[in-house]
């Protein structure tokens, strides 16, 4: 399989030497892959793709089809590295991390390097990566760099070179972890019979070192993982890491600073946070101290750091390491700061602020890659395209420019859709601070692409990735990666949860129920349409269609006297209510709301339930598909999700809020269905009552309980009053009352809060309601009474939902203000 590949001759090939012989450490892998039939391999790659999709390793997975992409899609062929080569690489990375930390400590402290002329002034004064508000802050854990990543490539000489350094908020380690989980399952035999170093011990080291730094101040510290939220391209990674490390996933709005300390906003109040694993960029960490417009940081966070009240990994300001031009100075700084010569070579680069470098760059402008030396963001965005203009720009402000030699990265065999072919590759490797210095993760993310510009660019969905296998000379201890992935990260103390999470869980419950209700209703219609019967011969059809119209699911009948449209017209309307994305109450819109709510609490859901949620993607209009099958399948998927989600959640507050959302929605839905159906149930009594029971999912219970024909009073009793019927209004009310009792409260006395009183009021009202004498024969005020009662209940339910939100979930908006009242000029 590997024989047929032609590698570009001018690059180093990871797998074959220059005479075309497979390198020794690739042979076991190649033999293993060659032993598998190509068709089976193709299936495995498909399995890899599916596993990653189901784990949700996608960009904004629920956005429109166009926006969907997979960052660093996984190619199943790993990249093996020998123990000896890795040992050298490891030593080089540790040395580099040490050096970078010393530089950070100096730059944010005494600035001797600046004053003694070892670091050009521009690198500090004209560098947006240097954050002035962070100057003078000594990190709480006494470490200036606690988490570090670098991109390496292997040059034509076969040696590793460092291309980029990451200090602000390095990305990719979650994908490396996910890749390992997937590959070790797909090639489980090969993986477990080869001595490959495990990743789990590194994460343990990361965690223990963090604990150690924080525990100097407090035992059992609260650690959170701070993410920009589901809109991040790599939110998947944040959710995975949160789950894996056991740090609750929070967004900036979940945190607040009081008394110079950081707290997590939870339902019962504020809980102290002692450490933050930060996955938001440096300059977006604190809108107060850094960017006035940015709304996605924690106001006051830098003040908390200044007071040494919180350990942030990495300390804010460590993005200084990301300065593109810094690498030019590392060899000299290394010597200055007592490190020996760099073990890992830099990629050749020149900073135009140095006169000699500038001359060289200007003389070789067409052969070199010019880029910004200090700017944030894309390194070449906005550069003059014209060579003469570029030269002029360099002359005008040389310190802003640098140039790098063209990169000739190594190639590696990669799985293309149906065969193996060459791709260029970079290695992203990670290190964390330990008490002794730094530890390097034995593995990482091999990033690959078909051409070099794509490889070096930032379009992650056009790059692929590989698992890096670091061979060990010694047998490796078995270590489970999966431990911890099945549970939800929560602070050890208390069963409380962040208000934002409770809010999303409540809405997840509501949307789930709303989708199920609508699907059940539509399914009843489609079932009737799928038979042979003519529309006019289906007695309950007008009843069903009226319900749909009352709920705005289909448009009103143009002609009141003839409620049944033509068959084609009706299927058209019904299809729109299924598939039309623009309609707020279509099935597909509701499913998307379910998915959106779910992705906001992704770290709270078990992996299994998350996989089920991703299956809702299949709800699309396919000509071949039968809507009835699709509705059945979707209802099944939703039930599976509810079952799994409910099953895998502890009966804590999260579960309560989700279930409360469900109960509220079901009660509202049920009440309005009955109220809207009531005027018609007596007109065509038998079929309409039966249909009402069907869409309320209570027909079996009715048959079992009454064994009689369908009559108004018993049907209403079952649907409204019967507390033992899980679909009844009374049941929902009693569940709601039970949940409310368990919510955190300040006052220990009962019925002091608005939601408690409302819950009690609803439960009492439904218990005391009297159905006696209700029947279809008397079109009298008893029906009106029932209708009014239902209407009141709807109002109460809505008020209850609002009350819960106001009490527990309100997000208070924050307004920044800046004053400057300026005097007039002198007269």
């Amino acid at each position: 399989m590997f024989d047929a590949i032609r590698f570009p001759g001018d690059t180093f090939c990871e797998a074959f030497d220059s005479s075309g012989i497979a390198r020794e450490h690739w042979q076991p892998l190649m033999n293993a892959l060659d032993a598998i039939a190509p068709s089976v391999l193709a299936q495995r790659q498909e399995r890899v793709r599916r596993m990653r999709h189901e784990d949700g390793a996608t960009f904004n997975p629920f956005d429109d089809a166009g926006g969907r992409g997979v960052p660093w899609a996984l190619d199943m062929i790993p990249l093996p590295i020998t123990a000896a080569e890795w040992a050298a690489l490891e030593a080089g990375l540790i040395q580099r991390a040490n050096l970078l930390e010393k530089i950070l400590k100096d730059v944010y402290g005494a600035q001797n390097l600046l004053h003694q002329g070892h670091l050009p002034a521009e690198l500090i004064y004209a560098n947006p990566h240097f954050l002035r508000p962070c100057h003078g802050i000594e990190p709480a854990g006494n470490r200036y760099l606690t988490y570090y990543a670098a991109d390496l490539y292997r040059g034509t000489d076969g040696r590793f070179h460092v291309l980029r350094d990451y200090g602000s908020n390095p990305a990719g380690i979650g994908y490396a972890l996910e890749n390992r989980i997937v590959i070790s399952r797909v090639f489980s035999e090969l993986y477990h019979h080869t001595q490959i170093r495990r990743l789990a011990p590194f994460f343990q080291t990361f965690h223990l070192s963090l604990i150690e730094r924080v525990a100097l101040r407090r035992e059992n510290p609260g650690i959170v993982l701070l993410s920009p939220g589901p809109d991040s391209r790599i939110y998947f990674e944040h959710a995975l890491l949160s789950r894996y490390l056991g740090y609750p996933l929070v967004e900036a709005q979940d945190l607040t600073v009081r008394n110079g300390e950081v707290f997590l906003k939870k339902l019962a109040g504020l809980e102290p946070v002692e450490a933050i694993f930060r996955h938001i960029a440096d300059d977006r960490s604190d809108p107060f101290a850094l960017q006035r417009e940015a709304n996605n940081g924690v106001a006051g966070l830098i003040q908390a750091c200044r007071e040494r009240q919180v350990e942030v990994t990495n300390p804010i300001g460590s993005g200084f390491v990301d300065t593109p031009g810094l690498s030019v100075f590392l060899p000299a700084l290394g010597r200055q700061l007592g490190e020996a010569d760099l073990l890992l070579e830099n990629h050749p680069a020149w900073w135009c602020g140095n006169p000699a470098d500038r001359e060289y760059v200007l003389a070789n402008l067409t052969q070199l890659n010019v880029q910004w030396a200090l700017a944030r963001g894309e390194p070449t965005d906005g550069l003059p395209a014209d060579t003469a203009e570029l030269a002029a720009a360099i002359h005008a402000e040389p310190h802003r420019f640098m140039a790098r030699a063209p990169v000739h990265p190594a190639t590696v065999p990669a799985w293309n859709p149906d065969s193996v072919g060459p791709r260029y590759t970079l290695l992203r490797v990670f290190a964390c601070a330990t008490a002794e210095g730094f530890a390097v993760m034995p593995g990482g993310l091999a990033i690959t692409a078909a051409d070099v510009p794509t490889l070096l660019g930032s379009t992650l969905e056009r790059q692929q990735s590989k698992d890096i296998w670091v061979y060990s000379d010694r047998p490796v201890a078995p270590f489970s990666l999966m431990r911890g992935l099945q549970t939800v990260a929560e602070f050890k103390r208390g069963s409380d949860l962040p208000s934002r999470v409770a809010d999303h869980l409540l809405w997840l419950g509501r949307y789930l129920e709303r989708a199920e209700g609508l699907i059940r209703l539509l399914r009843s219609v489609f079932r009737r349409l799928s038979g042979e019967t003519r529309l006019v011969d289906i007695p309950e059809l007008p009843f069903l269609l009226n319900l749909l119209r009352a709920e705005n699911t289909i448009p009103p009948a143009p002609d009141k006297s003839n409620p049944i449209p033509r068959f084609r017209e009706l299927t058209h309307q019904l299809n729109a209510s299924l598939y039309e994305k623009e309609r707020p109450e279509s099935v597909v819109t509701l499913l998307k709301q379910v998915q959106n709510a779910a992705r906001n609490v992704r770290d709270r859901l078990s992996l299994d339930s998350w996989r089920v949620i991703n299956r809702l993607d299949v709800f699309t209009d396919t000509a071949a598909g039968d809507p009835l099958d699709l509705l059945d399948d979707t209802l099944f998927t939703l039930s599976a999700f509810s079952g799994l989600a409910m099953e895998s959640m502890t009966r804590g507050l999260g579960w309560r809020f989700m279930d409360m959302g469900r109960r509220i929605e079901r009660a509202i839905n049920q009440t309005s269905l009955i109220r809207l159906g009531l005027p018609r149930v007596c007109a065509d009594s038998r079929s309409a009552l039966e249909t009402l029971l069907e869409i309320c999912d209570s027909i079996m219970t009715y048959r079992a309980r009454y064994r009689t024909a369908f009559q108004l009073a018993p049907v209403m009793d079952l649907l409204v009053m019967d507390e033992s019927n899980p679909k009844s209004l009374a049941f929902q009310c009693s569940q709601i009352a039970a949940h409310v009792e368990e919510l955190p409260r300040l006052d220990s006395r009962r019925y002091t809060t608005g939601e408690e009183r409302l819950a009690l009021e609803m439960l009492t009202a439904v218990r005391l309601f009297d159905l006696t004498g209700l029947d279809c024969e008397h079109e009298d005020d008893r029906q009106t009474t029932l209708e009014n009662f239902l209407r009141t209940m709807e109002v109460r339910l809505t008020a209850f939902a609002q009350q819960v939100s106001a009490h527990y979930l309100t997000r208070v908006p924050a307004t920044p203000h800046f004053t400057a009242i300026h005097g007039e000029p002198e007269p």
Binding site: G136, F288, G823, P825, E826
Partner: protein, 291 residues
């Protein structure tokens, strides 16, 4: 001159605010020509947290938080300041501007190195060809640097209209240059941008200016206001203040609070408030001469 400074900022909220975090740069800096005594800060309601630190530029910053519900928030900073006469170098005796540019670029000593940080663009002060063209007019070859700078602020004074409604705290230098109007902050930003575009070091100064009543009238208490100007680095001398709003070299009646790269570094009062609905702001500044 001796002054008693009073700077009172009051927020009144339409709904009680639950949390307020504020950073104040309201403590006058001690300089060679300015002594400061009895700086005080009073916050009502009492803040649960009050902390002071020295920022990157050497200014004193006070951070406080009010953490209980409060319908209004008042902060009053007061101090006694003595200003000494300023003796700027005779403009014609200052070095040619190109030489200053060269010295800054080489930054041979700590003073030049420190000044060097003020030659770059900063978040609120962009540098571009338009501004450079505007400034260049005042800097023909070999012109003594202070002469050029004085001419530049004189041009701004004469060509621009003081207009409080024309700009906000975020107005760009380009817009000020295009509209030819603004307030003291805008004029300072523009002059700084022009000087930096030539390779000179200029910093933003926040402070107060004692206002004098019209002849024969008593001075009204609280009629004063915040003021802003700039400072130019002149090798061999140090920093020379320049006030483009009034076309003067600031003297004893200018009181310095703080300096930085631009307004953003030395905003006198900034804060974040949770809740509070709509707020109304009132600011009262009194610069009272003492005998």
């Amino acid at each position: 001159m001796r002054y008693r400074i009073l700077h009172k900022t009051a927020y009144r909220y339409s709904e009680p605010a639950s949390l307020s975090l504020n950073e104040l740069i309201l403590k006058p800096r001690a300089t060679l020509t300015q002594r400061v005594a009895q700086p005080r800060l009073t916050v009502v309601p009492d803040p649960q947290y009050l902390h002071e630190y020295i920022d990157f530029f050497g200014n004193s910053v006070q951070v406080f938080m009010v953490q209980q519900l409060h319908p209004e928030l008042t902060m009053t900073a007061s101090s006694l300041v003595e200003t000494l006469p300023v003796a700027p170098p005779p403009p014609a005796s200052t070095p040619p501007w190109e030489m200053v540019v060269g010295q800054l670029a080489a930054h041979p000593g700590p003073q030049e190195l420190d000044a060097y940080q003020f030659i770059f663009a900063s978040p609120l002060i962009a540098i571009n060809a338009t501004v450079r063209a505007y400034a260049q007019v005042s800097f023909p070859p070999n012109r003594p640097v202070l002469e050029g700078a004085l001419e530049l602020i004189g041009r701004i004074f004469h060509e621009f209209t003081y207009d409080k409604s024309a700009t906000t705290v975020d107005t760009s230098v380009d817009q000020v240059l295009a509209d030819r109007k603004g307030v003291c902050q805008d004029f300072a930003h523009l002059a700084i941008s022009g000087l930096r575009s030539l390779g000179l070091a200029a910093r933003y100064v926040s402070g107060y200016l004692e206002t004098l009543p019209p002849p024969g009238k008593p001075k009204l208490i609280g009629a004063d206001a915040s003021h802003a100007w700039l400072s130019l680095f002149v090798p061999g001398f140090g920093w020379v203040d320049l006030d483009p709003t009034n076309n003067v070299i600031p003297g004893e009646r200018h009181i310095t609070l703080a300096w930085g790269r631009d307004y953003g570094d030395v905003t006198p009062v900034k804060g974040v408030v949770m809740g509070g609905g709509v707020h109304t702001l009132s600011v009262m500044v009194d610069v009272a001469a003492q005998n």
